[in-house]
C-alpha cells in the first residue's frame, strides 16, 4: 500500500534521507530502527507532510496515489496517520472537538455522511476504555497538562477512533513506563488487521517485545542498511548498531 522509492530529503539544505526504499503491504507491521540522527523521524514526517522537509528526489505513493502531491489533511483523510513523538498541546481545543472534526473530515472525504452523535459517543467511549482513559478526558484540551504517558495514549486513542489504513508511530515508546507501554502496545496490537499497515519508528528494541513486527529495517545515514524479520531487532539489542553501520560503510 505504501511505496517509497529512492527518496532524498533535505532539511535546511542538509541531506537527511539519501535514496531510501521501502514497501509496506497491507497487513504488515514494519519497524524502522537505527541510531540517533539516521533520519528515522524524517521518514514518517515526510510521509505525513510536515513543513520544512524538502524532497529533492524520489517518490512516495500510497495506494497508487502520489503522496507528495497531497495536502497534509488529504493524506490523513486518505488513511495515512502519524502518531507524534512529541504531541503538541492545543490549549482550548477539546479532545472531543478534535476527534469529531477529524472523523467527520475523513468520512466527508470518502463521500460518507457525518457520524451521528450517539454512534460517535459509543465509539469514543469504547476506545477510551481500551486505552484505560477516563471519559472526562474528552472535555479536556488536547494534550494540555497531560503527562508524557497520557499524551502517547491520546495519540493511540486517535488512531483507534480514526482507523487509519497506514498507522505510523514515531517513538511511541519514548517516555513511557512499563505499564503505560503495555497499554500503548495493546492499543497498537488491536490495530493489526489484514487491510492495515503499521510503521513503527523506534530507537529501542523493547517496544518490539510487545509489538512483534513482520519486518525490521535498520536506517543508517539516510538509507536502509539492513532489513530482516523480528530476529534482527533482537540481534540489534544484543550487539548494538555499530556492526550494521560498519557493514554498510564497507
Amino acid at each position: 500500500m505504501l511505496e517509497v522509492k529512492d527518496l532524498y530529503v533535505e532539511v535546511d539544505g542538509q541531506a537527511i534521507l539519501k535514496g531510501l526504499n521501502l514497501t509496506i503491504k497491507a497487513g504488515e507491521v514494519h519497524a524502522i530502527m537505527g541510531p540517533n540522527g539516521a533520519g528515522k523521524s524524517t521518514l514518517s514526517a515526510v510521509i505525513a507532510g510536515k513543513d520544512g522537509y524538502e524532497v529533492t528526489q524520489g517518490s512516495i505513493t500510497f495506494e497508487g496515489k502520489d503522496v507528495l502531491e497531497m495536502e497534509v489533511e488529504e493524506r490523513a483523510q486518505a488513511g495515512l496517520l502519524l502518531g507524534f513523538q512529541y504531541p503538541v498541546e492545543i490549549p482550548g481545543v477539546k479532545n472531543i472537538y478534535l476527534l469529531k472534526a477529524a472523523l467527520n473530515a475523513q468520512r466527508t472525504a470518502r463521500g460518507e455522511e457525518e457520524i451521528p452523535a450517539p454512534e460517535f459517543m459509543k465509539l469514543v467511549k469504547d476506545k477510551l476504555g481500551d486505552m484505560k482513559m477516563d471519559a472526562s478526558f474528552l472535555q479536556r484540551a488536547v494534550n494540555e497538562g497531560f503527562s508524557g504517558g497520557e499524551k502517547k495514549r491520546n495519540e493511540i486513542l486517535q488512531m483507534l477512533v480514526l482507523q487509519p489504513k497506514l498507522a505510523m508511530l514515531d517513538e511511541i515508546d519514548s517516555g513511557l513506563d512499563i505499564d503505560a507501554m503495555k497499554v500503548v502496545a495493546d492499543g497498537v496490537n488491536s490495530l493489526r488487521a489484514e487491510d492495515r499497515g503499521i510503521l513503527l519508528v523506534t530507537h529501542y528494541q523493547r517496544l518490539l517485545d510487545y509489538i512483534v513486527p513482520d519486518r525490521v529495517h535498520v536506517l543508517v545515514d539516510g538509507r536502509i542498511a539492513r532489513s530482516g524479520d523480528a530476529e534482527l531487532a533482537k540481534q540489534l539489542e544484543a550487539r548494538g548498531y555499530d556492526w550494521v553501520v560498519e557493514e554498510s560503510a564497507a
Binding site: A48, G49, K50, D51, E71, V72, E73, A76, Q77, L81, L82, F84, P87, V88, I90, P91, G92, V93, K94, I96, Y97, L98, K100, A101, A102, A105, Q106, A109, A117, P118, F120, M121, L138, Q139, A141, V142, Q158, L162
Partner: protein, 450 residues
Amino acid sequence: MSEQTFLDSLARRGAKCERQGPEPTWIAARRQAGAARFEALGFPTRRDEAWKYTDVRAIANGEFALAEDPDFSQTVAATLTLPIDAYRLTFVDGVYAPALSQLEGLPQGVQLVPLSQALTENHEAVGGPLGRLTGVEFSPFSALNTAFMEEGAVLRLAPGSVVDKPLVVQFLSRHGKSPVMSHPRLLVEAGARSEATLIEHHVGEEGATNFTNLVAELILERGAILDHYKLQEAPLGDLHVASIHAEQARDSRYTSFNLNLGGGLVRNDLISDLNGQGAVANFYGLFYGQGRQHIDNHTVASHNAPLTFSNENYKGILDDRARGVFNGRVVVKRDSQKIEGFQSNANLLLSDRAEIDAKPELEIYADDVKCSHGTTTGQLDEEAIYALRARGIDLQTARGLLTLAFAGEVLEEVKLDAIAERVELAVAGKLPERFNLAGLVEAAAAIDEQ
C-alpha cells in the same frame, strides 16, 4: 454643523415635553447642563486622545429621531430574547415595553423598574445617585445622554438581598423606516451584602441602524456582589456608546463580562472605583469583529484604597477589515498600598486587513503594590494548525477550532453556562462559512449532556 442636529432634536423634544407638564427642577437643570456641555464640547474627534482610534462621524453626521412607541412583534422579540429563566425589563429603541417585560416574583427587597416609573414614584430618591458617578463632564456623550435622558432601568437591592435568578435588561433595536436614537440610563444601587447577576443585553433586527448612548452607574455598598454581563449582539449597523461606572465600597466584588459580538461601532468606557479595602473588580472581555465592525473598549481600574484588587483579561478576535481598540488603565492612588492589579490583553488577527490598537497603561503612585500588564497580538499557532491538519482536519476548520479555543480562555470565566455556550456558538458561527463550527459545538454540547 452636526451637533446642531442633536440640539434641534433636543429643542423639539423639550417643546413636546413642556406640553405634557413640567419636569422636576433638578432634571430640567441637568438637562440644561448636559446640553450646554455638549454644545461647548461638540462630538469628540480623533485629535482627542481618548478618541484617537475611534471615529464617531457616523454618529455625528447621522440624523436620529427619538422613538415614541415600543411596538414590537412578540414573535420576533421571542427570537431575540435570551432563552433563560430570568426577570426581564425590555426596552424597544429605548422605550419601555411592558408587554415584553417579566418582573413577577421578584424577591423581597429587590426592585427593578423602568426609570420613568422610579421618577414618578419618588424622583428625589433617583436624583441623589443618578449622575453622581457619570456626570456631564465625563464625555460629550454623557453630556448628550444627560440632556436627553428619559428612560432606562433602576435596580435597587436592599441590604442582604440575594436575587435567585438573573436580572435581564434587554435593549431591542428595530429596523424601522429611519434611524432612531436612545439615551438610556442604568442605575444600580446594590445594598450591603446583596448579591445579583445583571445581564445587559443589546440585540435587534437585522438591518437596524440605530444609535444607543447609554450611561450605567453601579453603586456597590459594603460587601455587595454584582456580576454584570454586557452581551452586545446588536445588528451590525447599530452604533453604540456606553459609559459604565462602578463604585465599590469595602469588600464588594464587581465582575464585568463584556462580551461583544455585534454592533457596527461600539465604544465602551468601563470604570471601577475601588474605594474600600477588600474591594475586588474583575473585568473579563471578549470581542469579535468582522466586516467593518469597530469595537473600542476603554477600561479603568482605579485603586483608591489600600488592599484593593483588580484583575482584567480582554481578548479580541478581528477578521476582515474589523478594527479593535483596547485601552486598559490601572491607576493606583497615593497611599493605596498592598493592592494587586493584573491586566492582560491578547488579540488575534484573522485577516491581513484587520487592525488592533492596544494600549495598556499603569499609573502607580504607591510603592508597595503588585501590578502586571501585558498585551499580545498575533496569528494562530502554526504548530497547532499542523497537528490538527495531520488528523485530517482541513486548514479552515483547524483555524476555526483554534479561534474558538482562543475565545474559550475568557468564556471559561463566565459563570452562566447559558451565556458561555451562546457566545461560544456565536463565535463558532461567525467564523467564515467555510470553517463554521456551530454544528460541531452543538453536537459536542449535546454529547456532554448525555
